[in-house]
Amino acid sequence: MALTYLDHAASTPMRPEATEAMLPWLTGPEGHGNPSGSHALARRARRAVDDARDQVAEAVGCRPGEVVFTSGGTEADNLAVAGTVARRPGVAVCSAIEHHAVLHPVERAGGRVVRVDARGIVDLDALAGALDPSVTIVSVMAANNETGVVQPVAAVADAVRSRAPQAVVHTDAVQAAAWLDLAQHAAPAHLVSLSAHKLGGPKGVGALIVRDSSPVAPAPLLLGGGQERDRRSGTSNVAGIVGFGAALAAGTAARAGTASRVGVLRDRLVDGLLAAVPGAIEAGVTDVAPDRAHKVAGACHVCFPGVDAEELLFLLDQDGVCASAASSCASGAAEPSHVLAAMGVPREVAAGSLRLSLGWCSTGADVDRALEVVPAAVARLRPVPAGGS
């Protein structure tokens, strides 16, 4: 059975440019140099890493020296929060809908968590209330991983400037990078987290942008050989970094076209589901935000009240449709969504949440298949009303 992949927010297929760029560093006869060395092969590897660093800097709108390669988005988020607090002890603040890679380090540091509104956008008044000069870092994601809702990073940075001017502004741009112009959207943040496999690169590599303008540079979490200018030790993942740079460059060049093409597909998918399934609710779409302008183009998040998401995902899987409920967790079991809870979505509605996320290579056929399979599966799972019609 052909699989229909609608879980791009979990991981999106490799862009061919990325795979091609990586191969010499995986299989090539001279691709095994350690970039920290001094001989010819080491220098060759070093140059590949630095070329990728330039590509990332270009896409993000920062200087190459501000790019710190990491093992992925989670490490970048941890480095931002825990590293900053380690360098300058103080209060960490984040929104309630952050990825756990931000939320858990903030909670461990005894920080403050700021509520969001029904659209899933951080409440700027509540944020202002949480800010004072004791705050060291404020982290608000660029776009949410479950709902795709874009956050007002510039307004967050303004609030921090006026109320906690010594604090670092961090944005987790892992989900935004495939859809938004980071050079503009993430510009107000001192620290920016990225993950390669969310934008067509390989798993296991990402970056934290640490702008020179940041009031504090995070203390390293990994100590050792002093790679990445002493900000992150560990032998560089050369092939991964090369694939990351190539994917980001290719994705950035194609971004505007991809976003508008996929946005049309996404709208057809959401509208089709809402029309086909009575009672379906689109997360983050409310009376005050009746359209999807505040969501990234690939995000389709719909709740089917009365349906158990775990059962729905099982049936979709049997029909070859790859989707997810809340963000996936290590054990494979669906977890209740902290994002929907923070948005005030009732638990019985959130229990039937389905995230179908589109990506750079999604097609109309994917949407057709989802519109065929999802309403049928929901109908099968909904209890028949007692006594018939």
Binding site: D308, E310, E311, F314, L315, Q318, A330, S331, G332, A333, A334, E335, P336, R380, L381
Partner: protein, 366 residues
């Protein structure tokens, strides 16, 4: 047939899945995620999920994880604490079977299009001449788990499979070894999956509710000692209760949490002619009329008796009496009491408090 196999990550359910495959069934494995808190044993730790998944991989069957944490908490853990607070001695493994492994999983399996649910329990399902089914003891008497499956009704039994029930544990391990399954030598799970051995029952309950120091009161109404937490005393317990005036060990006869008292007596006071039950279910829809064997703990010896029912009780509130052939020990309220006819489970229920022994004449109870 399309069969959903509950794979705990142990050797029994691993082999159960393999045997169903051999029979040509369409097999899907599932591990239930039941407890979100800390745990170091039992059936739902992350390493057990890993074992189940790797066995499924080896067998070439799909493996899924179902998250039943909310139900487990509401149907097993909270009642476990509440039972203790009521002075009862709960059996959470039975409630887990009743509500999670069967009710919930059977329903989910039906919704998802499975014909049956299989587990690695050491028990069998037998078909009677009249077409009805019964749970029967597993071939390995020492590992028999029919006791914890006594609540399965006809609808459940029609959709349950226990593929290893006709094998001994050693044979199951040999089979796993022969097939190269990584769980072949894994130790049996012990204890409650939601209570860490380093924490224990007392700390677990204590973190969720205030415990009451209590008085030990003898049958004459005299206070003869105390216990730190009356909620954690089990009927039949001897430890920590001291000795009577004649030097014999004391037994807990009854626990009264509101009064913060534990009634204590001698061994003779522990025996009763009848044991009342509540929440009874019968495989045939009615209790057996002839002599039966009655088992009051997971691996306890069955004792002879009869079942008596005063009047047909509404479902759910069903009560019954076990009349022993000769007086037997009181069963701690909250423990399962399972009625067998030969090797077959006729039904069972949960022990309620047997009447206290009469106070010695002339004494005025406290």
């Amino acid at each position: 047939m399309r069969v959903l196999v509950a794979m705990s990550g142990g050797v029994d359910s691993s082999v159960a899945a393999a045997l169903l495959l051999d029979e040509g069934h369409d097999v899907v494995g599932v591990t239930l995620k039941l407890w979100g808190g800390e745990s170091d044993s039992g059936c739902c730790s992350v390493s057990d999920v890993d074992d189940a998944r790797r066995v499924a991989d080896r067998l070439g069957v799909e493996h899924h994880v179902f998250n039943f944490e909310i139900d487990f908490s509401a149907r097993v853990v909270e009642p476990y604490v509440a039972d203790h607070l009521a002075g009862r001695t709960p059996n959470p493994c039975i409630e887990c079977n009743r509500h999670l492994k069967f009710d919930r999983l059977l329903e989910r399996a039906r919704v998802l299009g499975f014909d049956a649910v299989a587990t690695g329990h050491h028990a069998r399902v037998v078909r009677r001449a009249d077409g009805t089914r019964r749970v029967a003891r597993g071939a390995d008497r020492a590992k028999d788990q029919s006791y914890v499956l006594h609540m399965l009704d006809q609808a459940a039994l029609a959709r349950c499979r226990f593929p290893i029930g006709d094998r001994t544990k050693d044979a199951v391990r040999d089979e796993a070894q022969r097939r190269g399954l990584r769980t072949a030598a894994k130790p049996d799970s012990q204890d409650l999956c939601f209570i860490r051995s380093t924490e224990g029952r007392r700390r677990f309950v204590e973190r969720r509710a205030a415990l009451t120091p209590g008085r030990l009161v003898d049958l004459d109404g005299h206070v003869v000692g105390g216990v730190p937490a009356v909620e954690l005393v089990t009927v039949g317990q001897r430890r920590g209760l001291g000795a009577g005036g004649d030097g014999t060990r004391r037994f807990a006869i009854a626990v009264d949490v509101p009064q913060a008292t534990v009634l204590v007596g001698a061994e003779a006071d522990m025996t009763v002619p009848v044991q009342p039950l509540e929440g009874v279910t019968w495989a045939a829809g009615r209790p057996p009329s002839g002599p039966v064997q009655v088992q009051c703990s997971a691996h306890g010896a069955p004792r002879p008796g009869w079942v008596e029912v005063d009047a047909p009780a509404p479902a759910g509130a069903a009560r019954a009496l076990v009349r022993w052939r000769q007086p037997e020990r009181r069963v701690a309220p909250g423990q399962a009491v399972v009625v067998y006819e030969g090797d077959e489970v006729a039904g069972g229920g949960v022990a309620s408090a047997a009447p206290p022994p009469p106070a010695p004449s002339g004494a005025s109870p406290a």
